[in-house]
Symmetry: none
Subunit: 401 residues, 2 copies
């Protein structure tokens, strides 16, 4: 596998413009009646034209059979080994609410839970309290004070929240307080390594103050913490690829991952066409644009086959706005598959379309799972897309002489 480390030594800079268009959860499964996936059912004349002029293939975000979360799937698309740079659950939760996690911060997922008089957990989700209740409880928890530590507490959804501990020398080498089962007491947080001792004390102090503050609440009278995590120290796209890069994404999670790899965040309206307009407005300013479309994934997760088809068609109708800018390299793909039939992320590889003057076109006539299978890019790890992109932009020197 070609790693970021090899590419790093070969990069050169030029004026080429690269666009990576990510339709989240693009890959699908065929409808039983028509035999067509969402992408195949969609009428996509512009993407099909690019597929005819370009080269296609099938990429595995993590590996055959492995269903990726959004974090590793995106790191992979950006060329970072998702097994090397793991984003822990707490850090992902912080990303998800748009919190700007610093390299010294430790984040953890909070579950609001119910305990009985003896302190035994009777409901790990406190009956999935409404999000508004969660917000009130988070406001209450913000009273917690720990000397020398800055605390941030943010609601996520229903019973889920996130806490961020900020201080010098914190470690995320900590066990969860969540016992993972009802009928047990919440666990003490235990440091896994010696340098995490202080962090463990801080976490237990937080939990004990939270228990006191919530003791008269019903049903959410306790917090369970899990997934203590710092941000992975990922080298930037600029450092590794020599790319001045920008992200156009409407959702906090994707903005967070883009920021993690050092992209500038461009503000944009929420509609798909707004994102393409933002691309046009900023096209002169960056080498590399990551444009993220969320709704292909959310319709897929809702099991809304027709809705996903419609979103793909809406994206297709915007393609002329992209090609009209004459980018040197265009890649259209998904971060992973989200088949409407499964109503979830899946392990299926994602169709990839690459277009550039130098791409060596194949015989693919249509951007679809079935045709990408026999495309000229073959079947390959998604982490290699970035090297292909840089090569097609003539931004890589040769390896060796």
């Amino acid at each position: 596998m070609i790693s970021a480390e090899i590419v790093r030594g070969l990069t050169v800079r030029n004026d080429a413009r690269i666009v990576l268009l990510v339709l989240d959860g693009l890959g699908g499964l065929p409808d039983a009646k028509t035999g067509k996936t969402e992408l195949e059912a969609a009428h996509t004349p512009y993407m099909d034209e690019l597929a005819r002029r370009g080269i296609c293939g099938m990429a595995d975000p993590i590996g055959r059979g492995i269903t990726p979360g959004s974090g590793p799937a995106h790191l992979s698309l950006f060329g970072y080994d998702p097994l090397k740079y793991q984003i822990g659950r707490g850090a992902l939760a912080a990303l998800g609410v748009g919190f700007e996690l610093g390299l010294n911060d430790v984040a953890a997922r909070i579950n609001f839970a119910t305990i009985d008089r003896k302190g035994i957990v009777t409901d790990r989700r406190a009956g999935r309290i409404p999000t508004e209740r969660n917000q009130q409880l988070c406001a209450k928890l913000r009273k917690i004070e720990i000397p020398g530590v800055e605390l941030f507490i943010e609601p996520v959804k229903e019973h889920r929240a996130v806490v961020i501990f900020r201080a010098e020398g914190l470690s995320d080498q900590l066990t969860d307080s969540d016992p993972q089962k009802v009928g047990l007491s919440p666990l003490d947080v235990v440091p896994i390594s010696a340098e995490a001792a202080k962090s463990g004390e801080i976490a237990n102090n937080f939990i004990s103050q939270a228990r006191e503050l919530l003791k008269h609440e019903r049903p959410a009278n306790m917090v369970l913490l899990r997934g203590f995590a710092k941000y992975p120290d990922v080298p930037s796209m600029s450092e590794v690829y020599g790319l001045n890069s920008a992200a156009i994404a409407a959702y906090p999670m994707y903005k967070g991952i883009a920021r993690l790899v050092g992209m500038d965040l461009l503000s944009s309206g929420d509609r798909i066409v707004d994102e393409f307009n933002t691309l046009a407005d900023n096209f002169a300013k960056y080498d590399f644009f990551y444009l993220h479309i969320k709704k292909t994934d959310s319709t897929g997760e809702d099991g809304n086959f027709a809705g996903k088809v419609k979103i793909i068609e809406e994206v297709d109708s915007c393609i002329p706005r992209l090609t009209g800018l004459n980018p040197d390299v265009v890649v259209i793909t998904g971060d992973h598959s989200t088949p409407s039939l499964l109503e979830a992320h899946s392990w299926h590889p994602v169709p990839v379309l690459l277009f550039s003057e130098w791409c060596r076109p194949d015989r693919v006539e249509e951007f679809s799972e079935s045709q990408c299978l026999s495309g000229g890019l073959g079947r390959f790890p998604a982490t290699e897309i970035i090297a292909l992109v840089l090569a097609n932009a003539l931004r890589l020197k040769k390896f060796g002489a």
Copy 2:
């Protein structure tokens, strides 16, 4: 990836004859008018016949998106991991002039350069002096004496030369003296590791004597050294594969790489047909023949599409001389792509044709990039060709029981 280390334990010897025919820079890009690459435009009835009877595929010399230099591309074809066995710039320069680099030698690239009165570099290439001038300057530099060190100085082309330091205990862990920019002084060579201290002194001594010898020359009154490199210690084809192997190549660089992996060098005339005649003359003497055709690459680098087509056709016309010898395994491929449209090496994968009695033929009807895409060998790392070759020659035992 199947490495040389796994194959090593499985080899057996027999009388099979293997020919690896390498058309340097074979892969191309389609002409805008015809939609055909050089290989597709060429009339190649003999190779097409072999493709019909054999099995085809597409190989990546280094990895997707990575454009290989000749050194790593060839190591890959010979089954050696090109990331593990890196040939430094100095060693490659020595290979290129046909110098027989020993395992204790350290080689470095020389640029003849111009410095002003204050010693500031004003031209890193001394106006690209003619090669004859370079030869005269090299003769002058041969006066340099360093106690305990044997020195070899060879002109390459224009302002480029190579110096080889030969002594016990030398190291190539040295920084360049080339400042890479005009307006700066040449740098001292600095040892990167402790055991390179003596080598650093030797290099700086060489540079200071060269400066003195060249001080009245114009415009080339200085040398800049870079890419200090020893030869990588590559195990031989005989040791790893049990192959008694020979190279037929007209250019020094390829002879050097062949010698690096322990092949015998067969002398041959320069014409393509001469190389095939040399093959015939020596066919009884070796298990494995590497036959290298240079001009597919040089026509590609010149942007001479028609010229490259013609060379491919000339090679094709010699194929009956090869098949007439009844080799057990034939592989025809390139070390990398050199599309005429790009006028340079490129990252595109190379078409591979393998023919043997045991190859399990696919449906490929023609030796071309577009048909090799759907060939039975699939898309695979070029380092795996050698295992396929040995298997088809029935020279590999089974792995495990």
